[in-house]
Amino acid sequence: MSQMSENKGGVLKKLATRLIRDPAFPGLLVLIVLLALNFYFQNRFFSYRILRSNFMAYTPLILAAMAQAIIIISGSVDFSIGYALSLFTCLTAYLMTDTNVFAIILLGSVVIFLGSGVMNGFFVGKLKMSPLITTFATMTLFWGIAQTIMPMAGGYVPRFFYKTYRIQVLGFLPFPAVILFIAIVIWSIFRRTSFGRHIYAVGSNEDGAYSSGINVSRIRFMAHVIASIFIAMAGVCLLMSMASGDFRVGQEYALNSVAAVVIGGIALKGGKGSIAGAIVGALILGLINNIIFYAKVSAFYQGFAKGMVIVVALFFGGIPQWLKSLKA
């Protein structure tokens, strides 16, 4: 009998230690603080309507952050995610009519898959080009195409389509939350395959991974390809949320997706961190935006405030390293 409760205590302790050791844990604490702050500034924060509207606004970023996390863990980085989203919304809003919604969504997703996933993956994985500059180039490409398709914001999105974004599934779940849930399930499946482990191996020690018989260039390639699934999902959510196409949306997502990943405890050089961290990081960014808005920060200050938040978060992240180097 006592052994049973001992074991129980042991399991709980083990879980607790694992939780605290997870690099996303500080982010989780920050998240809780932010939730409290949000509640302070906006009493009705935990009301259904507000929560739902938050989900609607942040789900694209969360999905983009998840995509970015997969790529970063594999040791790469993708600056083109933002403008891939731009491209998606512009392309689909341009072509969409009342009758061809799903076909166009499919088309857009294939474009994302090929352009963002396969193309980036090919350059970075197979041709071994530097991810940073390469994705800068592909970002410029997507930007250019998006801008060409739709130089001014506009396009057409059928009512029933974007209304869907606002429905309640099973009576209480916001639609975006369901999408998010599906995304998490998809990732969990991948995580349990050898791909899931191998991207960590490649990101952490590329030579070691190669010596262990892992096809490094293929893993790098696949990381981009699989990430593009989430980018496509983000694109769909973004389209439903905006109900139009605008090539300028990409600018924010480039940095924010990387910032979310960093805030979520995922190391930029790869090999460490979990998708949960990306989700936490994206939520934190979203909540901060919310606070800035509801704290009635003047429009002029908002850009500055958002940037400062990221810088402060980065500095905080960097302090442990600095202290360590002082002790060296």
């Binding site: 395959t193 482990r197 991974a209 262990s212 002790k327 060296a328």
Partner: protein, 504 residues
């Protein structure tokens, strides 16, 4: 594997010929030793067998059939597994994840079978190290010795037909080595052949059935211990080359230092948990050795004096004045110069030329102007190239294209432009050819004769005995023993390092 043959292997990396005419064959199962100086091609050969690199020429014949090995997967298919010297472990993954890496078992072809992987990991590790390592530990948290054991366990988990161990004992503790040797014999018993690459000739003579010697990329000799005695002296001439090698190496005569002043004194020096209470003093013109088992703090002690460990505690006196080195700059400005342990990572700017590498330390000196006086600096460089007998004698040569020995001449030689007060040598002869080593030590002693105090940490006892006036043995971060010139023997060094009583 019943027989393994490698004929006429050739491999070059750019301008460097790693292998010229390598031949290797045996009928298994056997434990084959592979010896040779660094740069002789042993590791290149091992990596070729494991499919990590491709040969330029040569053929494999396995069990009588020609074999192609162009990738790690090919090698795997033949059951050839390599336990690396510069580990193939993934720091951020756990031990069990590492052991199964690359050959994970799956459930229904898609999902990883973690239960199985953990069981295998437990089995492999228990065999090798008992309960010492937890399979859930992240590899980044293990000591180098433990990492090496995990690396070996990983190789074993692939059920090899032929296991290649590349310098497996370099980082291991004594008891690990014993376990490893036991395992090797076990494996041979089950039909697995082992290629055992090592510098340590006493290990080779102990467990190997045959020994192959490489020199300059060629197979120069083979000794079959079934027909010949297990004697290191037979192996050495094959490894060393034309020079007559006698077991009694040249030993520097004892230095008379009673009139010398003390140039460096350490009192109660402490650094984190790695160095505890170091006390010793160093005289001008002395060559002081630091010995002991691997990883007892020797390197940290040297780095501390060189100014790298800024958070150390304790008192240091340089020429009887208090001295605090918070940064290598402080050390260099005070005439304390370091020859670091890893010349590529720590000592050289590999894509720059000899000139750049030689003059670089001048930039932190006080009175060195920023505009470079090329004439003067080029003369200095040429002078050093001459003194160290650097080949090729061209100061514009990119350091990356030099042999290991010549690279080390740059790392060491650069300090000859100054008059060192204290010279810190962190395993200076590691992986360089004999001629370079001789030149290096000759210059060291010339400096000592002129008053430079030298602290030498060498992983080979022969170097310590041959060059030092006395040796401090370190154990667990403290100076555990001091062996004076007259008592300095191999046996005494080993026993003192192991903290075993010497019956005298």
């Amino acid at each position: 594997m019943e027989s393994f043959e490698a004929h006429h292997f050739r491999k070059s990396f750019g301008a460097v010929n790693a292998l010229r005419e390598a031949n290797f064959s045996f009928k298994g199962p056997k434990v084959c030793g592979l010896v040779g100086a660094n740069g002789s091609g042993k590791t290149t050969f091992a990596r070729l067998c494991a499919g990590l690199i491709r040969k330029d020429a040569g053929e494999f014949v396995i069990d009588g059939q020609p074999a192609t090995i162009n990738s790690p997967e090919d090698a795997q298919n033949y059951g050839i597994v390599l336990a690396h010297q510069n580990l193939s472990l993934i720091p951020d993954l756990t031990v069990w994840e590492n052991i199964s890496l690359g050959h994970e078992r799956r459930i229904k072809k898609i999902f990883l079978n973690n239960r199985y992987a953990k069981d295998v990991a437990n089995e492999m590790l228990n065999d090798l190290v008992g309960r010492e390592i937890s399979i859930d530990a992240k590899v980044s948290s293990l000591s180098p010795a433990q990492k090496q054991m995990v690396e070996i366990a990983k190789a074993l988990s692939r059920s090899p037909n032929m296991l290649i161990l590349d310098e497996p004992t370099a980082a291991l503790e004594y008891h690990h080595v014993e376990q490893l040797f036991k395992k090797v014999q076990e494996l041979k018993g089950t039909g697995v052949s082992i290629i055992f690459i090592s510098h340590r000739l006493w290990e080779i003579t102990r467990i190997c059935d045959i020994v192959f010697a490489f020199r300059n990329g060629e197979t120069v000799g083979e000794i079959d211990f079934e027909t010949q005695p297990r004697d290191e002296k037979l192996i050495v001439p094959m490894v060393a080359g034309e020079e007559d090698y006698t077991a009694d190496f040249d030993r520097k005569e004892k230095r008379e230092l009673s009139d010398s002043q003390i140039v460096l004194e350490l009192q109660h020096v402490k650094y984190r948990s790695i160095l505890n209470d170091i006390n010793f003093s160093l005289k001008k013109g002395e060559v002081l050795g630091i010995g002991g088992l691997h990883g007892q703090g020797q390197e940290e002690l040297i780095m501390l004096i060189a100014g790298e460990l800024s958070s150390s505690k304790g008192q240091i006196r340089l020429e009887d004045k208090p001295f605090r080195a918070k940064h290598p700059k402080d050390a260099i400005r005070n005439g304390i110069y370091l020859v670091p342990g890893d010349r590529l990572e720590e000592g050289l700017l590999i894509d720059h030329d000899i000139f750049a590498n030689v003059i670089f330390p001048r930039f932190c000196l006080k009175d060195e102007g920023t505009i470079l006086n090329f004439k003067k600096l080029e003369d200095i460089t040429d002078n050093i190239i001459e003194k160290t007998e650097l080949r090729p004698a061209d100061r514009k040569m990119i350091v990356n294209n030099l042999s290991g020995g010549n690279q080390q001449k740059v790392v060491f030689g650069r300090w000859l432009q100054f008059l060192p007060k204290i010279l810190l040598l962190n395993d200076p002869a590691k992986g360089i050819d004999i001629q370079a080593k001789d030149t290096l030590y000759r210059l060291v002693h010339e400096l000592a004769d002129q008053g430079t105090a030298v602290i030498l940490y060498a992983s080979s006892n022969e170097e310590l005995i041959g060059n030092c006036n006395r040796v401090l043995i370190m154990f667990e971060g403290e100076i555990a023993d001091e062996i004076l010139y007259d008592d300095l023997t191999d046996e005494k060094l080993i026993k003192s390092s192991l903290r075993v009583e010497v019956a005298e």
